[in-house]
């Protein structure tokens, strides 16, 4: 029971510039009856600033980062590099969530320390499955 409660309150940093994808991710989580709290960063630079603030103020780190690759200002792979090369943030499970199907993006993601690489689906059922999987398995990452 306790474990379930903990899962439901997952604190996610969503790094995503496309409002449609933000909405889809929120919907998927809501419709799966998972209650995660979202912090949204709509570009790579903003994501790194949010993380820096958290680290410097000693607040609780997000439980999970969902990171898009194709981002304005600082691209997702660079954000990933920053997160994983910084001791204070490298422990945060980071899932690259992108529409890119380029092998090179997948390879770079894993090389730079991503815990998982997931391609964005094109229907809500898949979205839900993915969110459910992520939330339920977050402790393993």
């Amino acid at each position: 029971m306790n474990a379930e409660l903990k899962l439901k309150m997952l604190d996610i940093l969503l790094v995503e510039d496309n409002p449609d994808d933000v909405l889809l991710t929120e919907l998927a989580i809501k419709e799966s009856n998972i209650q995660g709290s979202f912090t949204l960063a709509n570009n790579g630079k903003a994501a790194l600033e949010i993380l820096n603030d958290i680290v410097s103020t000693g607040e609780k780190l997000p439980d999970l980062i969902l990171l898009d690759i194709n981002l304005p200002k600082v691209n997702g792979l660079e954000v990933l590099k920053e997160i994983k090369s910084n001791k204070s943030t490298s422990i945060i499970p980071t899932i690259v969530f992108t529409s890119s199907d380029a092998m090179s993006d997948m390879r770079s993601s894993y090389e730079n320390g991503a815990e998982l690489y997931i391609r964005k689906p094109n229907n809500i059922q898949e979205y839900k499955k993915i969110m459910k999987y992520i939330v339920e398995n977050s402790f393993r990452f």
Binding site: N18, D20, L24, S99, K120, P121, N122, N123, I124, Y127
Partner: protein, 443 residues
């Protein structure tokens, strides 16, 4: 007898000298492959004028585009004369103080040799500079020969004599012969220049074309990637609406809705194919010249197509040992996979059969190796065989054979990148044979 010989000797000597001069001039001209006219004229004017026996000679060309009267070389005049004439006066044939009674202009305008045996009996005018430098009252005879290239008079050589001349046949033919040699040289150089210019222009056009092609390739690449994003959003939200509304929709609306779903699916397929096409044209740099083991590659393709092959009860027959080729593994895979899958897909036989053979024709380039992929499928009518390699060309309706018609275009594009070719031999109902080449592994 003796007396007669003696009399003839001086004139023979003169003729010999003239022949020698013609030889010199022609030699000077034949060694000039550039349109370096000052050099041509310099080497030509002196022997020409000396042998013609004139006192002053002027070699003039009309310089485009203004048709400036431009002196490139003189005989019996100073260098300052040329400089003043060309850089200060800058006469054009349209200048007010230029007269058609200038002997050189007269021959140019008429495209004819102008011979003035006695200047006192004919109207002759000169430029002010010429009058000041030469003193025209001393000039008694003039010969001006136009230089005609491509039926256009582009200049003239004008000879001025202080002693009156008769311009007998021998004299005239000497002048004509020499001018012909000079004209020939100019003509040849002109042709060479033109050829060089076209060559340059062609190279430039090629460069532009290459650039445009590259831009087009990257456009397709970018477009196909950027188109996918909004499509994915459409599909996702359609799936939400479908989820929520499908039970409430009546038959008609449900039909409309399904059309949206199908259209987006088709669009996804089209964009996917565009992406594949873009990849076929995109250089992956270091990975363009890998050694590709075809035995391995074909095993992988068969594995990937397992379900499809089993569903259609198809079989693939190929040699036990296939050679290595050079290229990008993904692209070569795409070539074989498309051709094999097509052979099975467009096939109504109970047992679709694909036969892959090596096709070593002596006509191929030595660095290429030939293949043939044969099927027992529905075949392609003669009249459509040229069309099948074009992008999004389809010969069948969607209900008959699903697809976008990009496969063979992708195959062809990949092969073109490797300077390889593909062709088809087929007839309706008699299967198809696709012949193509790939870069050979050179040991």
């Amino acid at each position: 007898m003796n007396c007669e010989l003696k009399l003839k000797t001086p004139s023979l000597e003169k003729t010999l000298k003239k022949l020698k001069a013609i030889e010199d001039i022609s030699y000077a001209c034949s060694n000039l492959f550039t349109s370096d006219m000052p050099t041509v004229s310099e080497k030509v004017m002196k022997p020409f004028c000396e042998l013609a026996g004139c006192d002053v000679g002027v070699f003039m060309l009309l310089k485009k585009p203004q048709e400036q009267i431009y002196i490139i070389s003189t005989y019996g005049l100073s260098q300052t004369f040329i400089e003043t004439y060309n850089t200060k006066l800058k006469y054009t044939i349209h200048s007010e103080d230029v007269s058609e009674y200038w002997p050189s202009l007269r021959s140019v305008l008429r495209k004819q040799i102008v011979l003035i045996k006695d200047t006192t009996t004919r109207k002759v005018e000169y430029s002010k500079l010429f009058r000041n430098s030469v003193g025209p009252e001393t000039i008694r005879s003039i010969a001006s020969v136009p230089i005609v290239v491509n039926n256009e008079a582009i200049g003239a050589i004008t000879l001025y004599y202080r002693k009156p001349q008769d311009f007998d046949d021998e004299e005239l033919s000497f002048i004509k012969a020499t001018t012909n040699i000079i004209t020939g040289t100019i003509e040849r150089n002109h042709l060479l220049e033109t050829a060089k210019k076209s060559e340059r222009e062609l190279a430039q056009a090629n460069e532009v074309l290459k650039h445009v092609n590259q831009e087009l390739d990257s456009f397709v690449y970018i477009a196909s990637h950027d188109l996918r994003e909004p499509l994915r959003t459409i599909e996702s939200f359609v799936s939400i609406v479908q989820d929520r509304m499908s039970k409430n929709l009546d038959k008609e609306n449900n039909d409309y809705f399904m059309r949206i779903v199908n259209a987006t699916r088709r669009m996804r397929k089209l964009i996917q194919d565009l992406t594949h096409l873009a990849r076929a044209t995109k250089d992956t740099k270091e990975k363009e010249r890998e050694v590709v083991d075809l035995n391995l590659l074909l095993n992988e393709i068969q594995f990937e197509l397992t379900a499809f092959i089993q569903n259609k009860n198809a079989e693939i027959i190929m040699p036990d040992k296939l050679p290595n080729v050079i290229g990008n593994k993904e692209k070569i895979t795409s070539v074989f996979k498309n051709l094999i899958a097509n052979g099975i897909k467009f096939n109504k036989s109970e047992k679709p059969r694909i036969i892959i053979t090596l096709d070593n024709d002596a006509n191929f380039d030595t660095d290429k190796i030939g293949f043939c992929i044969e099927d027992n499928g529905i075949g392609i009518e003669q009249e459509y065989q040229g069309k099948i390699f074009e992008l999004f060309q389809r010969l069948h309706s969607q209900d008959e054979y699903e697809g976008t018609g990009a496969g063979l275009a992708i195959v062809k594009k990949i092969l073109e990148k490797y300077n390889c070719e593909i062709c088809v031999e087929s007839d309706k109902g008699k299967g198809s044979k696709f012949y193509f080449t790939l870069p050979k592994e050179i040991n």
